[in-house]
Amino acid sequence: MKATLLALLDTLLERRDPRTVERVERLLEASSRAVRFGFHVSLLIFDWTAFFFFGFERFSTLPLKVRRRYVRLWTRTGLAPMRHLFLALRTVALSAFFDEREHERAVGYRC
């Protein structure tokens, strides 16, 4: 989970913060088993789908430029379940990232 989440953040924001992974884990601890399972499976699907379409490499190991293309695919696809899966992962990742006071301040919030 850690590698995929950090790679996702890096793709979206060009930032990596290991504290984000801790916050995601803490949030998931408070959720139901079904949500935790669903999140981990979604992350796996997202990471490994790249393997079959982007040169036999997982998302988390692709170069930044290719990761950006991959993320654009997931965002713009006409397949709603695929888009929703990515949206859920992105929302959790961004929520955890911006939960850090330092990152809130960096975008001008409450400063």
Partner: protein, 470 residues
């Protein structure tokens, strides 16, 4: 053995209103709350996600299933969802009261509703939002809607000494918002009610067609009467342990909602004010309600470079869709909800209207929850292109209707007094009993129903005492 006159399951808007009314009348009441008794000390200055983790069920990740996955955040703490809502307090719309009376036979409630709302507004200090606790986010909303000539005005909220901390959805850090954990629950306890927290109700105990208590994960609570106030998503399952009814779990309405975010080239700094201070009711007849909102970056659902230069507006629709809650034992309820295509059209229109307000106020770009119009610089595409249910990113905060009240056992699970038709001394008093939406933010209506049911329980108890031979 724990034995009370009345056991109330749930400490949210309905349960707190019931408990307070009964306790103040001298009834021996127990309130069972699954969540913990968090206070402002616990959530007042934590990070947004930490507050969500504490106060929201499932860390805020509760969804429906259907042609769209609607996020339905609910509270799990003393005070329930009132701890995490905006504090907006509005009476039921007159058309809603008329529908309750004419279509569902709730004449007694309709006759008393003015008094019930009046007393709640007095006791919870429901006041119009003061201009000194609003800021530029509200002014943007107002300016934009006035430019368009749309009818609106300040909202009313239940608060005492609000300082515009902007953390309504994370628990008020100043105990100013009169959520049930700082208002009706302490009043009920001061009048003798006992509050049991971390106490999850599993089953209603029934003997000879009468409710006699509640089995929890811990002790059994025996009672002369049981009042279920677990919310529209959970009440059907608990009531379903005592009876079967074709209406139980059905007729779920959610008021699906979303937000738009406008990016400006000047400072807005929308966090230092009441997030939901203003509303536009120009389109209420169509089923569209537009209200203020402001979320922190962690909850805004978007990556924004200049958060000090954004304004936000929230909106919701009165939907045609009716969902269904399936209560599986020992698990989160399965909530099925299928958005009607008219709802999708209405939602797209609501999004366009909200975005139009922001553009009218000078936004350079607007972010929406509608694919593929996530970032727009004009309304052209959003106005002219039809989208589908799966293109919407929705949330909902007003789950209701799943244990409806009506004047016949065929049409309602509970009768107009709040007692279930099938099991004596089993009452329901939360959002699930509203047979039609109050159209506005429902918490005051839920409390009004709660007081109404409590008053009926009191009448019954007094009658039984009077009829008991000495």
């Amino acid at each position: 053995m724990l034995s009370f006159q009345v056991v109330v399951v749930g400490s949210g808007a309905g349960g707190a209103a019931v408990a307070r009314t009964l306790a103040r009348a001298g009834v021996d009441v127990a309130v069972l709350e699954e969540g913990a008794p968090y206070t402002a000390r616990d959530y007042g200055s934590t990070s947004p996600l930490e507050a969500v983790r504490l106060l929201y069920r499932n860390a805020g990740m509760t969804f429906t299933v259907g042609n769209q996955s609607v996020l339905v955040p609910v509270g799990k703490c003393v005070g329930g969802t009132t701890v995490i809502n905006s504090g907006t307090a509005l009476r039921a719309h007159p058309d809603a009261v008329r529908a309750w009376k004419d279509e569902f036979g709730l004449s007694e409630f309709a006759a008393h509703q003015d008094r019930l709302f009046h007393e709640l507004e007095r006791d919870l200090n429901v006041v119009r939002v003061r201009s000194e606790i609003t800021g530029e986010n509200t002014r943007v909303f107002r300016r934009g809607s006035e430019t368009l000539g749309w009818r609106g005005g300040p909202l009313t909220r239940m608060e005492r000494g609000c300082r515009g901390a902007g953390r309504c959805y994370l628990g008020c850090p100043n105990d100013a918002k009169q959520s049930m954990n700082v208002s009706f629950i302490p009043e009920a306890v001061a009048s003798g009610a006992r509050l049991f927290t971390g106490c999850r109700a599993r089953r209603i105990l029934v003997k000879n067609g009468r409710a006699v208590g509640v089995q929890t994960d811990g002790p059994v609570f025996f009672a002369h009467a049981v009042v279920v106030c677990a919310g529209a998503l959970f009440t059907p399952r608990l009531v379903g342990t005592a009876l079967k009814h074709p209406m139980l779990g059905r007729n779920l309405q959610l008021h699906p909602a979303a937000r738009v975010i406008g990016e400006f080239d000047r400072d807005i700094r929308g966090w230092n004010e009441v997030p939901q201070a203003y509303h536009v009711d120009e389109f209420l007849e169509e089923g569209i309600s537009i209200e203020g909102v402001f979320l922190p970056p962690a909850l805004a659902g978007a990556s924004i470079e200049r958060f000090d230069r954004v304004a936000m507006i929230g909106y919701r629709i009165l939907e045609r869709a009716r969902g269904r809650v399936f209560g599986f034992p020992r698990s989160f309820p399965f909530v099925f909800y299928w958005l009607h295509r008219d709802d999708v059209r209405l939602f797209q229109r609501a999004t366009t209207l909200a975005a139009e307000i922001l553009f009218a106020a000078g936004a350079k770009k607007v972010r929406t929850s509608v694919h593929p119009f996530e970032e727009i610089e004009s309304l052209r595409g959003l106005r002219s292109t039809s989208v589908g249910a799966a293109d919407l990113e929705l949330s909902a905060y007003h789950a209701q209707g799943t244990c409806r009240m009506a004047d016949s056992p065929e049409r309602g699970v509970v009768d107009p007094s709040g007692e279930t038709w099938q099991i004596k001394n089993l009452y329901v008093a939360d959002a699930s009993i509203m047979p039609a939406t109050p159209r506005h933010n429902p918490q005051l209506s839920i409390m009004a129903f709660g007081v109404h049911v409590a008053e009926n329980i009191l009448k019954r108890l007094r009658k039984e005492v009077a009829n008991t031979p000495h």
